[in-house]
């Protein structure tokens, strides 16, 4: 993700605006023809997409198998609930750890690669994890899925909230989303995050500056996988089940497309925009036609060809042009060639 310079703020105005807007969603969502659960889906997939973008947009590593981490987190949440403790925090930690461990395993095989080989290895691992989930009927329920996952209450010691209805679940996930955005925003703007961006721009140069590039790539894969697993755990809880299909290539590809369409390659918020656009389109356009995925896919192809900066990128361009209009004539905003 390009930002010509890092941002020192822990919480930005954009964040606050986003949280405030999102906080109001349950109030008007039914009035626009949608339903409260889509809000939950959007938030959970946004966390997933933000985690995913750590690897794609920030570090420049094309992962087409991230669904594996999301899916493993979902299964881990359910399995922890059944076999360890029916405690929300324990299960979420289980989901995160499962994702991170899977990320470590995969990372050990792929962190020294980049580009096409990296992408291909992620596809292979995605297929491996998917196959294992489908075939391990006794553990995962196979194609039938892992069912009867419960929305565990949010127990904060002094007070406990029940989140079995969609509105309460929404506010819980919103709070989680807020925390995650703060954490990831800081990570991306920290020395570690900027170095990942340096690695994306030139691995060779970064290595020659004295940085152990492999370790950086491995660590971000683990972190991204952990957060993806966390999102997967939330997802399992929200839909009360876990299925293998989030791990397949098409679904892993979905998060890639959403992230790019939204502008993840150039903006921190790109993935969130992409998720909102995708899920709303799925429900609105999907209601009208069976071919909506075809339209989305075609739009994706066109964007890759002509506007890989996505929606956020187009927005940034507009803002820049608008700013340039207000500049004094002596300043040229046109880039010099060099």
């Amino acid at each position: 993700m390009t930002g010509t310079s890092s941002d020192a703020r822990l919480i930005t105005p954009t964040m606050i605006a986003a949280w405030l807007v999102l906080a109001t969603v349950p109030l008007w969502i039914s009035k626009v023809g949608l339903y409260p659960y889509i809000g939950v889906e959007i938030l959970i997939w946004s966390i997933y997409a933000l985690a995913f973008n750590l690897v794609l947009g920030v570090s420049g590593l094309p992962s087409f198998g991230h669904g594996a981490f999301f899916g493993i987190g979902a299964y881990a949440f359910g399995l922890t609930q059944f076999n360890v403790a029916a405690n929300l925090w324990v299960c979420l930690i289980g989901a995160t750890l499962a994702g991170a461990v899977a990320g470590l395993l995969v990372g050990l095989f792929i962190a020294h690669r980049r580009g096409i080989y990296f992408a291909l290895l992620t596809i292979a691992f995605g297929q491996i994890f998917w196959t294992i989930s489908v075939k391990s009927h006794s553990i995962t329920g196979g194609e039938d899925g892992l069912l009867n996952i419960v929305r565990l209450p949010v127990n904060l010691g002094v007070v406990a909230f029940d989140i079995s209805d969609n509105d309460s679940l929404y506010y819980f996930v919103l709070a989680v989303f807020a925390v995650v955005t703060v954490v990831l925003w800081r990570l991306v703007n920290s020395p570690y995050g900027r170095l990942l961006s340096a690695i994306r721009q030139s691995e060779v140069r970064t290595a020659h500056l004295g940085y152990n590039v492999w370790l950086y790539k491995l660590s971000i894969i683990v972190i991204s996988a952990g957060f993806s697993g966390f999102a997967g755990g939330l997802f399992a809880m929200a839909q009360r089940s876990a299925f293998p299909d989030v791990m397949n290539l098409a679904q892993s590809g979905l998060v890639v497309m959403m992230t790019l369409v939204g502008g993840g390659l150039v903006s921190f918020w790109g993935p969130v925009i992409g998720v909102i656009v995708f899920l709303t389109a799925r429900d609105v356009i999907g209601a009208m036609t069976n071919a909506w995925m075809l339209y989305f896919g075609t739009m994706f192809v066109l964007l890759v060809l002509f506007r890989p900066d996505g929606i956020a990128g187009a927005f940034k361009l507009l803002v820049e042009r608008w700013k340039a209009r207000g500049a004094t004539p002596s300043l040229s905003s046109a880039p010099r060639s060099g």
Binding site: T2, G3, T4, S5, S6, D7, A8, R9, L10, R186, L187, N189, S190, P191, Y192, G193, R194, L195, S197, A198, Q201, S202, V204, R205, T206, A207, H208, L209, G210, Y211, N212, V213, Y216, S219, P335, R336, G338
Partner: protein, 247 residues
């Protein structure tokens, strides 16, 4: 004791021998030039020095320590910095951030996820110092891809300087520069002489001859001539072979 020593370095890619036998030593504080025709192996030699290529045979010593075959980041940490012939700047970063990430102080906080980079004055102050030393004082906030070619060349060197190296390896630093740019670069490098050990690969003979303390000529994968610029200028063989341009 020489700061950088190459002994019997032999590099082969498949069945193609690129470096037959390189014996070279660079003393501390020296500016050592490396010349030779295209394809002679100069950049490959640089790559062995900096760890990008592992020599099939031979030793490379940095300050007495054997470094052949170490990874680039390990060698960089031992005090060897390098600039690239084909510029590899961080194009999405500003000039200042390009330099910042090279600073040892930044490297020490490479895994810091808790603090933001932007607010940290210590990084930006030091980076601005380095930028000023290469003449890019006013360009700190400019995105690297918007700088002019000459400015990018200067930035390329600034990034290597920011590492505070003991040995600075410059790979064709005048590449693509016009007379003006080359003069300015010569001034800059001249100002660094004595403070650092510099190894420079170059095609521009006038540039090299005016700055280098000693020059090694690499041809057919070996060092075929070595000496001070004056000695080499007298060397008939060097004069006869078309080893580089005079400007």
């Amino acid at each position: 004791m020489a700061l950088v020593e190459a002994e019997g370095v032999h590099v082969r890619f498949g069945d193609r021998v690129v470096l037959e036998e390189i014996n070279l030593s660079v003393n501390e504080g020296e500016l050592h030039g490396i010349m030779g025709p295209n394809g002679a192996g100069k950049t490959t030699f640089f790559n062995t020095l900096t760890g990008r290529v592992k020599p099939n045979r031979g030793r490379i010593r940095l300050n007495g320590e054997d470094v052949a075959g170490l990874s680039p980041h390990a060698i960089a940490r031992k005090g060897l910095a390098r600039s690239f012939q084909i510029m590899t700047l961080f194009n999405d970063f500003t000039a200042q951030e390009n330099v910042m990430v090279a600073l040892p102080a930044y490297r020490a906080r490479g895994f810091d996820v808790r603090r933001a980079v932007a607010g940290d004055a210590s990084f930006s102050d030091e980076a601005n110092e380095v930028l000023a030393s290469v003449g890019l004082a006013g360009k700190a906030g400019v995105s690297a891809k918007l700088l002019s070619y000459g400015e990018r060349r200067a930035l390329e060197i600034a990034v290597a300087l920011a590492q505070r190296p003991r040995v600075l390896c410059l790979d064709e630093p005048t590449s693509g520069l016009g007379t003006d740019g080359t003069l300015r670069l010569a001034e800059l490098i001249g100002s660094l002489k004595g403070k650092l050990t510099i190894v420079a690969v170059e095609h521009d003979m006038r540039f090299l001859f005016s700055l280098a303390d000693r020059i090694s000529v690499i041809h057919w994968g070996q060092v075929v001539a070595r000496g001070t610029p004056r000695e080499l200028q007298e060397n008939a063989w060097v004069k006869r072979s078309n080893l580089g341009s005079f400007g």
